[in-house]
């Protein structure tokens, strides 16, 4: 579904990584780890088409990102649910409308109904539905971001530190949601520093752990 082939990315003349390959296939579950500043977020942005690789090929659902039209990229993003590190909400819209935003942007607002309520209940935000994003705590924002990422039942879910601000119990709850979606055939890629989350996931699914280090993507050690 998403494939990076020998990808390099440079920013401001400095090469962040090179010769990097990654394939997100249906049902795959990947964790991405690495020190801060290694380029994890950049790698995720390449995966959902916000950035364009300096060299190498990025294929989004079989299409070369460089050859895609702007509408083509938009259509591909509808198949990718993203949890951003900084959540990226529209602060003037209530939480419920923010979560439903991918549906409305895709012209599917008529399909938003009970699913939205169920999803908000699952992430524990039923009482915050009418609040504005700035009124939410860090953890609530991350839960809302995850709900928004999965509301369209996308083929690929990409999450950047999705449990950074939530307690252990809620992180397990969110992980369960991602695992269930993965079992339905969705590809999942999570960038995280949370080793406990990785271990918990590996206990439930066949997860592959990758480490971005020294500009290369490597398989993590057996301890993970």
């Amino acid at each position: 579904m998403i494939e990076l082939r020998n990808v390099a990315y440079s920013y401001g003349g400095a090469e962040l990584f090179s010769d990097l390959s990654l394939s997100l296939t249906p049902g795959s579950f990947h964790f991405l780890t690495g020190p801060s500043g290694a380029g994890k977020t950049t790698l995720l942005k390449l995966c959902y088409g916000e950035l364009t690789a300096t060299s190498g090929d990025v294929l989004l659902f079989g299409e070369d990102k460089r050859q895609m039209t702007r509408d083509g990229v938009a259509m591909a993003r509808r198949r990718i649910g993203v949890v951003h590190q900084d959540c990226q909400f529209l602060d003037h819209l209530p939480v419920a409308e923010n979560i439903a935003l991918p549906m409305t942007a895709a012209g599917r607002q008529s399909e938003v109904g009970d699913d939205l309520n169920d999803l908000m209940a699952w992430v524990g935000l039923t009482n915050q539905a009418a609040q504005l994003p700035p009124q939410l705590s860090g953890g609530e924002r991350q839960r809302a971001a995850l709900a928004r990422a999965v509301i369209t039942s996308p083929d690929v879910i990409i999450a950047d530190e999705p449990t950074g601000n939530v307690d252990w119990e809620m992180s397990q709850r969110l992980l369960t949601l991602l695992v269930e979606l993965n079992k339905m055939g969705k590809a999942v890629l999570i960038a995280t520093h949370d080793l406990n989350l990785i271990r918990a996931a590996k206990a439930q699914v066949q997860a592959r752990v990758l480490r971005l280090r020294n500009r290369k993507l490597q398989a993590a050690g057996a301890d993970l």
């Binding site: 959902y48 916000e50 702007r70 509408d71 938009a74 259509m75 993003r77 509808r78 993203v82 951003h84 990226q88 909400f89 529209l90 003037h92 819209l93 409308e97 935003l101 991918p102 409305t104 942007a105 895709a106 012209g107 607002q109 928004r148």
Partner: protein, 301 residues
């Protein structure tokens, strides 16, 4: 045509979800409404100017084309005889529908703007004027001049060609300038709305980024801005047009004050013409905003 109308109506009905995705921006909203209103107000006057100039050109053209003047300068004792001879000659001239000598009172009225009231015209060597009304095809001025030279030597024929043409040309130019003003107003409106739309797009760069990230297409994002600016332009232009029409209505009446400027206004069905201005402003705003939005969205990527 029907398709275009449907598209226009669906635009006005709009996509409330797309509209909500972009927060309202007070400054650009007020700027757009004010600009559209002011421009519509000016457009009403430009339209009135253009129509008044057109009417003036038509009136001068019609009135002056159908009349001529014969001026008889002769010693006082021969004046009556030469006038009578000229009238007889004119009555037998093909193309002349009627001819009559102006009375002393009429000639006094003509001179009054220059000499004031109560001019003792009888004691002055004022030439006798004969008004000639022509048939539609008119007469042959060269032939008439030749006959007058032979039979009424003191007569000078003025068929108004000399000063009618520059006047009609001036009125035509004025009408053209009125049209140019309307075009310039439309272009200035488009420029102002483009700037306001660009400001709104820049102010909402983060909103646009989020919408893109969730898979919104450019057309969806642009629609929110386009609809908003189109409605603002329509509202502002409607207010400006009504204000302009009221101002025109309050101008002094032409038949009371006289003169060209007081004739600035609309007559009959022409009062409906200003109502074209608000939809026209909306079309201009639609095109300007859409163009600016799509350009900005492309540049922001």
């Amino acid at each position: 045509m029907i398709g275009a109308l449907r598209r226009g109506l669906s635009l006005l009905a709009g996509d409330s979800q797309a509209d909500r995705a972009v927060p309202p921006t007070g400054f650009t909203a007020n700027l757009t409404v004010f600009t559209a209103g002011a421009m519509a107000f000016l457009a009403v006057f430009a339209l009135a100017l253009s129509l008044a100039a057109g009417r003036l050109a038509d009136r001068w053209g019609e009135e002056l084309a159908r009349t001529s003047t014969l001026r008889i300068s002769a010693p006082a004792e021969q004046m009556a005889a030469q006038t009578a001879a000229a009238i007889r000659l004119l009555e037998t001239t093909p193309g002349v529908a009627a001819a009559r000598a102006l009375t002393a009172d009429e000639q006094r009225d003509l001179l009054e703007p220059w000499f004031g009231p109560g001019l003792p015209i009888e004691s002055l060597p004022v030439p006798q004027l004969i008004e000639i009304i022509e048939v539609d095809d008119g007469f042959d001025p060269t032939g008439l001049r030749a006959r007058l030279q032979a039979e009424v030597p003191g007569a000078v024929l003025d068929d108004h060609t000399r000063w009618r043409e520059p006047l009609i040309e001036a009125a035509g130019r004025l009408r053209f300038l009125g049209g140019v003003c309307i075009v310039l107003i439309a272009l200035a409106t488009a420029a102002m709305i483009s700037l306001a739309a660009q400001a709104a797009l820049s102010a909402n760069a983060q909103v646009i980024r989020v919408l893109r990230l969730v898979g919104a297409r450019d057309a969806y994002i642009a629609r929110a801005f386009v609809r908003r600016f189109t409605l603002r332009a329509l509202t502002g232009a409607a207010v400006g047009t009504v204000a302009g029409m009221v101002a025109i209505l309050l101008l002094p009446r032409a038949d009371v004050a006289g003169g060209f400027l007081t004739g600035l206004g609309f007559q009959g069905w022409a009062w409906l013409l200003p109502f074209v201005i608000p939809p026209l402003a909306a079309v201009v705003a639609f095109a300007a905003t859409r163009s600016a939005a799509l350009r900005c969205l492309k540049e922001q990527s």
